[in-house]
């Protein structure tokens, strides 16, 4: 096993160096390819779009691979069982904060939302804290984070991260204050405490393999969406006039924030599919708060999720859950339009 690990480390460092060399030369390469090799004219619709595509596609895919790998390794330290242990017995406010943070790093698939919910509440974790986790897990999404970072820089990525965490913490806390435990389906609390699996002891080599599996799994699934998205983005970048969106998604249009959320909530898309739309809207004069609100509404709340959660939440609590989160997203949208 030891031999394996040193081999991985050497390979890893080698790959990282190559990664860096390629990454920092992508833009010169895209320029050379478009204007030098193909000899297309500067300042032209098609060449602008092509240069954008040739630059952004490898850039985003490379960032994605790196982050998914790192997140895959980090997640191997946080099983749902361990997260539950950390959250059990914490007071409510502290619990909300921790739950939102753990929502980012705990491996989570929306098809496990129901067993996870039951596992948490039957272990005595307060309802509001459990919901903080269930809001943060899909909303603060590593793919979204990477794409935002790659396309708009670290500030927008940090805003997204901060906004997502804040909404998860506050919305969970508010629902906790409303004391809605009796609006959880009765059979949930009748389920005895669940034991869960013993934590497997795994070594670093196995964690690296988990990171690699995550890359194969996630990047293998989303690369096509990313490319389609960038192609659409490239088209808009080259052809749509600047400020085309300003009149109805700009800061002046106060109703655009709630409208974005209302349109975004029932929609369901993975983050990889939605960011290029965000990119397109933002590039043509839409306001940042409005666009981020739309994006968060799409990835955090969806009709399929409502159907899944209906198994454990009575209609009233389900409505409150969606309502509180949607309100949070709207408020943050307004806030960012006001300060940016």
């Amino acid at each position: 096993m030891k031999k394996h690990l040193s081999l991985y480390v050497v390979k890893g460092i080698g790959l990282l160096v190559i990664w860096g060399l390629v990454y920092w030369n992508l833009e010169p390469f895209a320029n050379w390819f478009t204007y030098g090799f193909l000899g297309l004219p500067q300042e032209h619709h098609f060449s602008t779009a092509l240069q954008f595509f040739v630059f952004e596609t490898p850039k985003v895919l490379m960032l994605l691979t790196l982050i998914v790998f790192v997140v895959g390794i980090i997640r191997s330290f946080f099983t749902p069982e361990r997260t539950r242990q950390i959250l059990a017995g914490k007071s409510e406010a502290v619990g909300n904060v921790l739950a939102a943070l753990l929502g980012i790093v705990t491996p989570f698939c929306s098809c496990s939302a129901v067993p996870l919910f039951i596992g948490f509440v039957t272990a005595g974790i307060p309802l509001g804290v459990t919901l903080s986790f269930l809001i943060s897990a899909p909303m603060v999404n590593e793919i979204a984070l990477v794409l935002l970072f790659g396309m708009f820089g670290w500030k927008v990525a940090a805003i997204y991260l901060g906004m997502g965490l804040t909404i998860a913490m506050v919305a969970g806390w508010v629902i906790g204050r409303l004391k809605m435990e009796r609006h959880v389906e009765d059979w949930v609390y009748a389920t005895g405490p669940t034991a869960g699996l013993e934590d497997e002891k795994i070594d670093l080599t196995a964690r690296i393999q988990l990171g690699r599996d995550a890359v194969r799994d996630i990047v293998g699934k989303v690369w096509l969406y990313v490319m389609i998205g960038i192609a659409v983005g490239a088209g808009i970048h080259g052809y749509v006039p600047a400020n085309a969106m300003a009149s109805f998604m700009g800061k002046g249009a106060w109703w655009s924030v709630p409208l974005s959320v209302v349109i975004g909530v029932p929609m369901y898309s993975n983050a990889a599919g939605i960011i290029p739309i965000v990119q397109a809207l933002l590039g043509k004069g839409a306001a940042l708060g409005t666009v981020l609100a739309f994006m968060m509404a799409v990835i955090a709340l969806s009709l399929p999720e409502a159907i899944i959660l209906r198994k454990v939440l009575k209609p009233r609590l389900l409505a409150v859950f969606f309502g509180v989160v949607a309100m949070g997203i709207m408020l943050v949208g307004y806030l960012f339009n006001a300060i940016m």
Binding site: G119, T191, L197
Partner: protein
Amino acid sequence: MKKIQILGTGCSKCKLLTANAEAAVKAMGLEATIEKVEKIQDIMKFGVMTTPALVVDGQVKSAGKALSPEDIKKFLA
């Protein structure tokens, strides 16, 4: 005769795990029954928090992963 149960509410990973379990059983030439447990109330009785989960003779062997046939073989040996 081994009793294999796949816990999951029917997502794509659950179907993959079922198919892989069938492949593992076939490759090993085992005599085994494979049963899908799809009702959430029944799934919760096993105490898992993530699906799909693999249960062999009433014991939870793995949860939250669509194991490959190779991985499943280890739990059946």
